[in-house]
Amino acid sequence: MKWLGRSLRRIAGLLRRAPEREMDEEMRLHLEMEAEELVRTRGLAPEEARRQAAIAFGGVEHYKEAVREARPVRPLEDLLRDASHGVRSLRRSPGFAAVAVLTLALGIGGTAAIFSVVRGVLLRPLRYPQAESLVTVWSRFLPESGFDFPTFPVAPPEFWDYREENRSLAELAAFSTVGVTLTDGEAEPQRVQGAMVTGNFFHTLGVDAALGRVLGPGDDPPGGSRRVVLGDGLWRTRYGSDPDILGRSVIVDGEGFEVVGVMPPGFAYPSGETVVWGPIGLDPANRSNRGAHFLQLVGRLAPGVSLSEARAELGTLMSIWESEYPEIHTGHFLVLNSMMDDVVGSVRGTLWVLLGAVGFVLLIACANVASLMLGRNEARRQELAVRVALGAGRRRLIQQLLTDSLVLALAGGALGVALAWAGMRAILSLGAGTIPRADAVALDGAVLLFALGVTLLTALLFGLAPALRGGAQSPGAAIREGGRGGTGGRGGTRLRSGLIVAEVALAVVLVAGAGLMIRSFERLTAVDAGFRPEGLLMAQLALPSRDYGDIASVAAFHSQLATRLGALPGVVSVSGASDLPLYEAPPNVDFEIEGMPPTGPGQPARSGDLVFALPDYPATMGIRMVEGRFFTPSDDVEAPRVAVVNRTAARMFWDERSPIGSRIRTAGDPDRAWSTVIGVIEDVKWAGLDAEHRQAYYMPVAQPAWRPSTLYYTLRVAGDPLALGPAVRRSVAEMDRRLPVIRLSEMDALVEESLARPRFVMVLLTLFGAVALSLGAIGIYGVVSYAVTRRRRELGIRMALGAGRGSTAGLVLAQGMRLALVGVGLGLVVAFATTRLMAGLLYGVSPTDPLTLAAVCGVLLAAAAGACWIPARRAVRLDPVAALRIE
């Protein structure tokens, strides 16, 4: 603070020095001339003449002030003078300054940190030219169908039809994501994310290659071509930024592709991990497979067309489709989203709730500092009164007090920006993996500007009331009081009480938000996932289709690897499946039940999540079998085909009868072979702990309707699962040196990961709640403790007259608790109105959960009682005689 005051004074001096010095000089000259005149005319001795001249002249400072007032207002000069005065006066009360600056820094820093995330994620346009005109297209089914996903892929004929029929889009491109294995050169085999795209994909996005060229329509004839574009990161890490990469061949999934371009850094679409783009090779002539949903669409609105116009046109087209293809397009249609909504839609509500919550924290901080300032101004009444007596106008005094606030706010803001930077880093690492576009978050100019704006607003918010009160000084009264604890501060006390009530009310809202989030998180973690994650190791493998083209070789590989892994020391049992609970949900695939007619148009389709699994899956995962048995090694490709359904599917499609013995066949099976249901397995949470159970059916990996691309091995281990990692990798390498283990992880860790988003929100809201609670408690403490100091005399008299300790403590407690009660009541009303905004973030808890709100009130009142307790104890320990003598 010292340096700040010094430099402010220096700047003020630079502006002021010349005129001020001139004034001094002019007045000194005047005095000298006057004295000489007196010597000359009245023959006074020089000493006496000077004295008389000075008496005649009067108070130099007073005239200087009058001269300053006579000049036009110099806002900057006044501001700097006041600021330097403010800094000096703050340095005289370092305790007050430290608490106020820290409080403000917390509020401003927290707000700026959350805002930096909101701005980066929600407010910044996506990094494409005219990104606001980019749209995505998804298919949608009516909720009754059972697959009412917000984003479901589109089938190729739908893509071609829509592309030809629409007039709203300048471009419409399709792509499909794919995991591929790179095996070129001497480098380790590497599993990466790729996208197969139509020829207009890059043109639609409006991006160009940094090196070479992007794929164009000529690269994407029916059947595709052997050309790829690489991402910047892949080019740097795997190919050593080779400038001659163009024209080179890279091996993708065992086949050679020519590199035609390298994308600029930062380009990664559709996902942040996508690093390879190849042609998709769709044939526009083939419009037969209307049910094969595997395409994602991205388009660009034609110039001048709005999103709602494009949506209206799409709606019209959909009603035409419905009459043209009633069996497919009844209750099934395409929807159009803005790309921005698609990218950040899931996190938007969360971030606004957090920004709102941190805004509340800022308000509480303001109320707290305002209350502190009121208290300080009460203590400074004499100083202020003297200033008024010396000729400072009301306007001038208010200006000075507001400048004090500004100095505080700026100091708080500066510290706040530092806090914001740290906070932003902490938020990003806490929310890693759950915040899209995290790379767009930065403490940039806009955020700094926001912080400055918040700082100025804050200064006004917490400074105005104290300044207006401080400006209304009646010099006589304050000086006469002589700083005695008179009754003069009644209005100020009422104002402070009001602030404390507001603070407590806001704290109730924040603590309620935190409480609800904690309860919701508890509920979430208490959910039975249907399997036992502890002691489970997961290893993800993908067999490239070139080396494992036929189903028999896939089955043979898995059976051998499972045997090998099962023989490792410490492994209790081994199994695996095409998907992994809480990590990757299985695809939804139609199936038929033998002897039951297919469902009609618009009816819930007979479908379920299809999982391909190895034998022993229930035993390894810890999933209970409801009835029947699971697959065994003897259910191989030679044996009769078998299937297992989950409990929800059994209830949904077989009602009360047992499905065992029924035969089903899945829609995608080219052989159209029937499988006999041999068991019913307990439901498992595939899509997340907060997701509803869905109907699912399992088929053996060894009897595949098709080849699952990825297999998640699961190993139940005695001891530390991760310690087994190297042995698992070795076993895989022994089977196939070129096969990468894509991911190796404890199942426990994956469950934790699936809880990252709710945990992120819970941690932040709990933090805000804790800060709010502490600030509220500090506020109550400040007011009550100040009141005790002021009422020392009164309390002393009461005690001298025989008031007991209990009644004295009660008096003090009652004062604080009255404020707390009013605040809690008010807070409950506000909480009822605002917590519903976070309904979308809660699981299994109502936003107005009475239990939580009751607990919140309890916590708040306990904190308030604690805050009152310290001053109450001080009051009780007052020595009546000393208290009376103090004044």
């Binding site: 001139e22 002019e26 007045m27 005649a56 009058a66």
Partner: protein, 109 residues
Amino acid sequence: MTDRADLLQGTLDLLILKSLVAGPVHGWGISKRIRQLSEGVLEVGQGSLYPALYRLADRGWVTAEWGESAGGRRAKFYTLTAVGRRRLEEERASWRLFSGAVEQVLEAT
């Protein structure tokens, strides 16, 4: 102080402007000139003189410049501007009107 008249509100500007007609003077000179011309009746308090000078300078009726006084000391000299001269005429006219009116009232029986 009975031999000195208090300055009427608004007359100070007039007196200052008038005292500058004869040429540039410094602050003390102005107060002395007013004292002399009024034969010691009008005393311009220094506390009102300098604020008034700054105000007049601000309105552009006088300009201030540092120069050397008769005694060889650095002093700030005030000069009447053209605008100030016009202003003086206006003030003088309104003062005449005012004082004439006051005189008339006092003379009435």
